[in-house]
Amino acid sequence: MVIYLLELSLSLFVLGAISGLVVEYKSVMRLSSTFATLASLALIALIVEAYGHLPIKGELLGTPIMIDGLSLVFLAIIGVVGLADAIYTFNYMDKYEKLGKAWVFALAYNAFLASMVLLVTTSHLVWFVFWWEIMTFSAFVLVIWEEKDSLWAGAQYYITMHLTSTLPLLLAMAIGYSVVGSFDGMGFADIAAHIGTLSPGLVKLLYASFLLAFMAKSGMVPLHFWIPSAYASAPSNISTLLSGVMEKMAVYGLVRATFDILKPTVAFGYLVAILGVVTLVVGTLYALKQTNAKRLLAYHSVGQMGYIWLGVAIGITFMKNPDPTLAFIGTLGLAAGLFHALNHALFKGSLFLSAGAVEYAAGTQDLNKVSGLYKIMPWTGVFALLASLGISGVPLFNGFVSKWMIYEAGYYSKNFWFVLGAILALLISAVTLASFIKFYNSAFGGEPNELTSKAKEVPGSMLIGQGILSILCLVIGVFPVVALAIVTLPVGKGVITAGVLGLSFNSIYFSPVLLAIVLGVLFIAFLLFLPARAKETAKPWDCGSTLFPEETYRLRASDYYRPYEKRIGAFYAFGDFFGDLGTEVINRTIAAYVWIGKYFVRTAEIPRVTVENVDDLRDGVTLHLDDALIMPIVRFVKVVGIISKTAVVLVLIVAVAVLAALIW
C-alpha cells in the first residue's frame, strides 16, 4: 500500500513533468502545479499510511526502496512544503510569463520534487547519489529561471555543488564500491557491514567526503557563499523549495550517512558541532545586515541550518555514549535537530513565499523601499508575522520548541563546548528575532509609500500556500505533538514523550497549550477589562513641524541596529576577509592558468598585445605538442615534394622496400 502510494505520487509528478506538452503557458503552470499538489497530497497520505508500519522495504523502478522513521521525517517536509509550494505556484509563476519555457518549468519543478522523494526513500548509495544529482541539476535549472542576476548566481551554485558535493559523493561512492565490489551491493546496510575492512585513512576520507558534500548542500560556513545570491535571484516558490526542502536533504544525508553507513563518533560529532555553531553565528549575523528581503532570508537559512547541525551533532556525539544520561542528551539533540529541520522548512518556506508575495505585489525585494504593506496585503502580513515569530523562536511558535530542545540538550550535556554552543544559539536566537523584526516591520509596518500604495493583495492560491505553512507554525508551536510524533521516530520512542498538552523529557516538562491558555486568557481579559478606546485618529507626532516629509519619517531597513553591527564590526571584517581570501585564491588560480595557457596558444598572433584573462587566450591558435614534433618532418617532406614529385615516390618505394625486407 505504501509503495503503491509512493508510485502514485511519483506518477503524478511524472504527469506534472510532462504537462509541458500542453504548450500554452498558463495552462502548463496550472496543470503542473495541480499535479504537484496532488502528488504532495499522495505523499502526505503515504506518511499517514506508513506511520506505525516502519520500516517498509520494497522496490521501485528496479531500485531498492526503504522507508524508515528518518525517511518519514523528510517525506513529511517534502510533502507539506511541496503541497504549499505547488499551490502557491498555481498563480505565482504568471509573473514570469514573458520568459515562456513553461515546459521546462513543469519538467524541472516536478523532477526536483520527485528526485527528493526518491532520494529519501532509496536505500542504495548509487541511487542516492543519482537522485542527489538530479535534484542538484533540476534546482540549477530552476534557480537560473529569471535569466538575469540569477545566471551568475545559478552558475556559482552549480559549480560549487559540483566541486564540493558531487565530487566528494562520487569519491564516497567509489570507496563504498571498493569494499562491496558490486553495484547491487551498494545498499546502505551492505556498505555499513563491510566498512570494517577499510583502512583507517580511507574511512577518514569517507567521513570527509560525506561531510563536505552535505556541508556544501546545506550551506555550512565556509561553503555558504553561494546561498544568498542563489536564493535571492531564484523565483520565490523555488527559493522556498531550495531553502525549505533541498537544504534538508543534506541533513538527511548527514544523519543517514553517519548513523546507517558510518558510525557516529565523538570526534566527528565535535566537528559537526563546530561547523554548526560557526554557521549559525556567521549566517545569522550576516543576515542581520541584509536589507534585501530574500537575501536576508537566505542568510537566515544558513544560520538555521547551523542550529539543525548543532542538534544533529549533539546526537552524533552523545547518542552512543555508555552513560544513559548523556545518551539521552544525544537522542534529545538529534530529535531536536530533526524537529528544527521540519520547523525550518515550515517557517522559512512560508517566509520565502511571503517575500515572493511582496515582490509579486510591490515589485521589489528591497526592504528599504517598501513600507506599510499591512494595509494593502493584510493576509500576507499575518502569515509573514506568524512565520517570523516562528523562526525567531517566540514561545507558542514552532521554532521555539525545537530551539528550546536544542538549548536544553546543549546545557544538559554539561560539556563546556556544547554549553557554549547553546549560549551562542541563545544569543543568535535574539539576533534572529532582531532581524525578523526588521524584516516584518520594514515591509509591513509604517504607512504605505509611493511604491506600495499601488500594490494589491496577491491571489488566493498564493495566500493558501503561505497560509498552510504559517498556520502549521502556530499549530506545531502550540501542539508540538503533531510534529514530535514524526520527528521522534528515528530516535526511538519513549525518550521524548509528547502529548496533546505538552512534551516532556527527563524531568523537564513544557506545555505550550497551557501557556497559550494562560496568555490567551490574560490577553482577552485585559482587552475586555480595559478596552482601548482608540477612536480618534491622528498623524504620527512629528514635534509639530511644518511641511514635514512624512515618507522619510521612519527607520528604513538599512537603519536598524547599526550601532550593534558596528560593535561587532570586527566579526564582519573577519568574515569579509575570508570572502576576499576566497576570491583572491580563485583569481590567482585563473592567473596561474592564464600564465600556463600562454604556452598552449600562439599568443603572438593575438591582435592585442597583453593577455590578461582566459578569454584573451581564446583568440589565438592552439598549439599542439605532437605538431611540434612531427610537423617539421611533414613540412620537410612537403618542401621536398614541391621540389620534386619523384622524390616522394622514391621515398615511398624505399619505405616499402625496407618494410618488405623486415618482413622477410
Binding site: 519555457k101 521546462v104 548509487v126 547519489v129 543519482f130 544529482e133 538530479i134 541539476f137 537560473i144 535569466e147 545566471l151 551568475w152 545559478g154 552558475a155 552549480y158 559549480i159 559540483h162 566541486l163 565530487l167 562520487l170 569519491l171 561512492m173 567509489a174 570507496i175 563504498g176 564500491y177 571498493s178 565490489g181 553495484f183 583502512s199 580511507l202 592558468y593 600556463i596 595557457g597 598552449f600 596558444v601 582566459v614 578569454d615 587566450l617 581564446r618 583568440d619 589565438g620 592552439t622 599542439h624 605538442l625 605532437d626 605538431d627 614534433l629 612531427i630 611533414v634 618494410l659 623486415l662 618482413i663
Partner: protein
Amino acid sequence: MNSTIFLLSFLIPWLLGLIEFKLDKKKADIVMLISALSSLALTSYGLVLFLGNRGIYHLVYIHSQGLGEVFGFVVDTMSVLMAFIVSLTALLILLYAIDYMSSSNKLHPVTSGKGTFYGWMLILEGAVLGFVFSSSLLSFLVFAEVIAIATWGVIRYYKTPNARHAANKAFGFINLSMLFGLLLVVVFGLVKYHDTSLYALTQLDSHAKLWVFLGVMFTAITMSSQFPLYSWLPDSTEAPTPASAFTHSIGIVEAGLFMMVRTIQFMDGIPKTAYYVIAILVVITQVMSIFYYPLQKDAKRLLAYSTIAQVGIMYVALLGAMLGSAGGLQASVYQLFNHSLVKSLAFLVAGTFGFSFGTFDMKKIKGLRWILPGAAVGWFLALLGLAGVPPMGLFLSKANVIMTGTTTVRGAPWIEWVPILLVLVDATIFFLVAVLWLKSMLFGEPSYEKGKISPLMCAVLIVLMVVMTVSPFLTLHLTESIRFIGG
C-alpha cells in the same frame, strides 16, 4: 548464431556506399536511407537474436595456413551492442545530414556532391561495423585502414586548405601509428606465429605479450587520439559536422578503444609495464585536455577535446581491466556507449550553429534560447551530459569508471589513484567550462536573428535526447555480461 546478418550489415553500406559516389541529390538520399536503414534493421535483428541466445561466438570465414585466421567474426555482447549503436547513430547522423548538407546551410552551403559525402560516410559506417566484429589483428588492420581512408575522405570533403591539411594529418598520423604499431605487430605475428587471431594472444610469452600489446596500444591510442598523437582530432573538426559527429562518437576514435578492449579481453595476464606505459600516457592526456578546455571558443573544437578526455576516461577504466578487473572492461564499454550518444547530440547541435548562424564561435552566440530553442535545450543537455550530470548516462558511466577503478587500486600505491582522481578533475574542469559557456550562450540579448533548422534535424535532435536519456539504463545491465575471454 547466424552471423550473416552482421556480415550483411557492413557489406550493404560498403556496396551502396560505392554506388553513392555516382549519385547526387534526392537519389543519393534514398540510397543512403536504404543502406543506413537496412544496416540498422540488420543489427537490431541481430541484437534481438543475440539477446535470446547469448554467448560468445567465434566464426572464421577465411583461414589460411600461412596467415592464420584472416577474416572472422567474434559475436558477443560487446560487438553486437556496439554494432547496434553504430548503425543507430549512423542512421540518425545521416538523417540529420540530409538537411544539413543543403544549400540553406549558412556556413557551408552544399549544392552538389552529396553522394560523395554519403559514400564516404557509408564506407566509414561499414568499416566500423566490420571492425567491431573482427576476430584477428589482421582484419583489425584492414578495417582500420579502410576507416582511416574513409575518415580522410570525409574530413577533406569541403576541400578547403584547412580541410585538406586536417585530412592529410589525420591520415598521416594514423598510418604512422599503424606503421610503428599494428602493422609491425601483424607482421611480427605473421612472421613468427603465422596467426594474428585474437584467440592466439593468450598463448604469447610475457615478453612477446608486452611488445604486441604496446604495438596494438600505440595504434589504438592514436586512433583514439590520445597522447602522443592526438592533435589530428581537434583539427579534423574541419569535416562536415555529421562526419565529425560520427568520427567522434562512434567512429575511428572509439574503434581504437574497441581494439584495445578486445586485446585486453583476449590477452590474459598483461605485464605491469604495459599498465604503467598506458597509465602515464592517459594521465598526460587528461592533464592536457584539462588545459585545453578553457582555451576553446570554437564549439566543435571544444567537443573534440572533450572527446579526447572522454575516451581517456575509457582508457582509465581499461587500466583497471589490465589489472584483472572485469568491471574495468564493463565500465569502459559502458562509457563508450553513453559517450557516443551524448557526443553525437553535441556535434549535431553544434552543427545547427553553423547551419543557422554560419559560425561555430561560441563567443559570438548569445541568447540562443530565444533564437534557437531546440538547439539551446540540446546544447544544454549535451554539454552538461558530457560533464557528467545525470540523468544523462555519462554520469553513471563515469561513476562506474571511478567505482571500479577504486576496487583495483585500493591498497595500491597512491600513484595508481592519480588517473582515477584525474577523471574527477577533468569532469570538473569541463563542467566549469560548460556552465560558463552555457551561461553566456543560452541567455541574454540574442546576437543573431532567429535561426531556423529543418524539422528533420530537430526531430533527430529530439530522438537523440530521448535515446541518450533512456539508453544508459538499458545498457547498464547488458554491459555487465562483458568478461575476459582469453585464458
